[in-house]
Symmetry: C2
Subunit: 143 residues, 2 copies
C-alpha cells in the first residue's frame, strides 16, 4: 500500500471511530504530508467538512497547490472537486469510486489527473458504513 493512501485510510478509520463518516484525505508535497483530515459532519456539525475539505483546512494557507497531490479514500464530490479545480491541485489519487462515483469527469475536463486505485479495503469500509448509517450517508451527499 502507498504510504499516503494508507494515511488517508487511517484518517477515515479514525473518523469512523469517532462516530463519523469514514472518508479520509491527505495533501502531499515533495513526498511529505502537508495536511491530513477526515470527514467531520458529525464531529463538528459541519456540512462542508468532507475529508478533502478538512485536509485542506488543516494544511493551512498555501501560496500554491500546483506542486501538490491530494489523496482521498473516495472519489471527490462536486464540492471537493470544485475545490481541487479552484486551488489548481494537478493530481488526485482516490481509493475507490464504486460506492460513490463523484465528479471525476468534471475534474478531468479541467485538466486534473485522476487515478482510481479501486482498493477493496476502501470499498468495504464505505459499504459497511452505508449499510449501518444510510440516512447519515444520504445527508452527506445531499440525496
Amino acid at each position: 500500500m502507498d504510504e499516503f493512501m494508507q494515511a488517508a485510510i487511517d484518517e477515515a478509520r479514525l473518523g469512523r471511530s469517532e462516530g463519523g463518516i469514514p472518508i479520509g484525505s491527505v495533501l502531499v508535497r515533495n513526498g511529505q504530508i502537508v495536511g491530513r483530515g477526515h470527514n467531520k459532519r458529525v464531529q463538528e456539525g459541519s456540512a462542508i467538512k468532507h475529508g478533502e475539505m478538512d485536509c485542506l483546512t488543516n494544511a493551512g494557507r498555501q501560496s500554491t497547490y500546483r506542486d501538490t497531490v491530494i489523496y482521498s479514500t473516495l472519489m471527490p464530490c462536486y464540492m471537493c472537486a470544485g475545490t481541487i479545480v479552484q486551488f489548481k491541485i494537478p493530481k488526485v489519487i482516490v481509493g475507490e469510486s464504486r460506492t460513490f462515483d463523484g465528479a471525476r469527469e468534471f475534474m478531468e475536463s479541467h485538466g486534473v489527473e485522476v487515478i482510481d486505485l479501486d482498493l477493496p479495503e476502501c470499498v468495504q469500509m464505505m459499504e459497511e458504513f452505508i449499510e449501518a448509517e444510510p440516512t447519515l450517508w444520504n445527508e452527506d451527499i445531499a440525496e
Copy 2:
C-alpha cells in the same frame, strides 16, 4: 436593496473590518436567513472559508437545500459553485461578477439559476480591497 443582499454586504463589510477579505453570504429559506457568514481566510487561517462556505458552515447540518436560495456579494468560484451543485441549492443571487467572473456557466450547466445584480456597491468594495491587498486576493483565488 434586497434585505438578504444587504445582509450579505453587511457580512462582507464586517469581514473587511476584521482585516479579512470582504465577501459575504447568506442562506435563505422561506424568507428567513438560516445561515450567514463571510470569508475567513485571514481570521481563521483557513483556505476553504470563502464567504459561501462560512455561511454554509454556520447554517449547520440541513436535511435538504432544495428549498433555499444562497446570496453572495461576489460570483462563486469553483469551490463554492461545486458546493452549490453538490448540495442542490437551486438558486444563487450575486452582488457582482465584474471583479471576478467565477463559475457561472458551470452552475448553470447543472441547472442552478444564477442572478447577477451587478451592484456598484459590491464592485467598489472589491475594487478597493484588491487595490489595497492584491497578494491576499491572489492567494484567495489561487492565482
